[in-house]
């Protein structure tokens, strides 16, 4: 289990329509060494074949946007009129592929409150931009992750603590004396692999049971999920989302 580095609050990031267009340009112009006049069916083993790349020039990068507030909000990309609504039923976007190090700009909007997003993503990084209530205003938290635990036989479960009200956050398996995660700092994330089982979890802030248990549902091997702890009116609540990637 590892905790990822984070960049809290201030400087941020975005997406939607614009981001969708930022598909990876991995496999562009790289068949420069094609042999001229390839004779079909006449090549021997000694014949050379066109040189091709054995990988991309840069790893894939992704960004998603999460509504960590108690009310619906809208996400817009800079220079676009397209809007994405994030609410209790659909609190997150998928991970959109983006070009590494490109500028990603946009805005969370909720009633009269706005939070401008401006960020970039490193190669191989999965960035989550989480909208949070700041009194009557809106702010956001940006957390990046560079996972190395890809595994189709296990469930990959992350725990994001985006609640300043919840120090040393933990998730305990309901009905069992088992901690999935322990002592997670505020504005931090951690991830681990678990077996594909049906479980419910209870949030602990320090040693204090906080909020209601959360049923994680049928977790599927090979899939990736995140549990978010976000500030609620007088406490901290948790919810789970799939770490789905736009295909």
């Amino acid at each position: 289990m590892t905790q990822a580095a984070i960049s809290p609050g201030a400087s941020q990031r975005v997406a939607t329509g614009r981001v969708k267009k930022m598909t990876q340009a991995f496999r562009s112009a790289h068949f420069a060494f094609c042999l001229a006049g390839l004779m079909l069916g006449t090549l021997s083993n000694a014949a050379d074949i066109p040189l091709y790349p054995t990988g991309p020039s840069a790893d894939s990068s992704f960004v998603r946007f999460i509504n960590g507030t108690d009310a619906a909000l809208e996400l817009t990309a800079a220079g676009s009129k397209a809007k994405v609504q994030l609410d209790a039923k659909t609190p997150t976007t998928v991970f959109y592929p983006v070009r590494a190090k490109s500028d990603i700009k946009g805005q969370f909007t909720q009633a009269q409150s706005k939070s401008d997003i401006s960020t970039s993503v490193k190669a191989g990084e999965f960035v989550s931009v989480i909208a949070l209530a700041d009194g009557t205003k809106l702010k956001h938290l940006t957390i990046g992750e560079e996972p190395d635990d890809f595994n189709a036989l296990k469930v990959s479960l992350a725990f994001y603590n985006a609640s300043a009200k919840c120090a040393n956050a933990g998730l305990q398996v309901v009905g069992r004396d088992v901690m999935l995660f322990e002592k997670l700092d505020v504005n931090a994330l951690t991830r681990r692999m678990i077996n594909p089982v049906k479980i419910s979890v209870q949030l602990l802030c320090g040693a204090q049971v906080t909020g209601a248990p959360l049923e994680l549902g049928e977790l599927v091997a090979g899939e990736r999920y995140s549990v978010f702890a976000v500030p609620a009116a007088s406490t901290t609540r948790i919810f789970i989302v799939s770490d789905a990637v736009a295909r």
């Binding site: 990876q24 991995f26 496999r27 068949f31 094609c34 390839l38 079909l40 069916g41 090549l43 021997s44 083993n45 000694a46 014949a47 050379d48 074949i49 066109p50 040189l51 091709y52 790349p53 054995t54 990988g55 991309p56 840069a58 790893d59 894939s60 990068s61 992704f62 592929p97 190669a123 191989g124 990084e125 999965f126 996972p147 190395d148 890809f150 595994n151 189709a152 036989l153 091997a221 090979g222 990637v245 295909r247």
Partner: protein, 217 residues
Amino acid sequence: MAAGTLAGIAMLVLGESHLSLPGYLMNPLYEDLTTQGATVHAIGACGATAGDWLKTVEVPCGADRFKGDTVFKGRAATTSPIKELIAKDKPNLVVIILGDTMASYDNESFPRAWAWQGITGLTKEIAAMQTPCVWVGPAWGTPGGKYFKNDKRVEFMAGFLEKNVAPCVFIDSLKFSKPGQWATVDGQHFNQAGYQAWSANITKALAALPMVQGLKK
């Protein structure tokens, strides 16, 4: 190997450059599989990665062999979306032979996110078509050459595939030979003896899989 170990199995075999030239893996593998009773449609696309089989992508060379007829292609070669291939052929087994095109041999860092995205994208589409699949990983090459293939990375690539190709069953080609045992022409592509050995081992490994045996008619 007894004759007919793959009797009645309709295979769609997809691969990279190894399946794209006549003296490479295409001919010996096609012949070994059909000798064992399988009906085979084999398609090679030079440089194609897993994600390239989700769409149509131009590649610098390729080959297509079905019902005995082989078409070796130059720059007119493309990949085809796996969904279309499965819908058209209706195979009862898909065999993917792919690894070298995704290993980033010339890059110190391995592109995990990209590889994971491509591999799982392909395996999910195959699973969505309710078609069993086998993924054959890369074989040892000889260090160096124009692709910079090296033992450490090919071993890592095989391990990455093994962890990520489910629900496809993984066949580890590294177990078929010792590093450097099969001579290559460029560090990555084998000579005829190497391809014949790889083909024989793939055929034998396929026939030994309980999942494949369950498909026999």
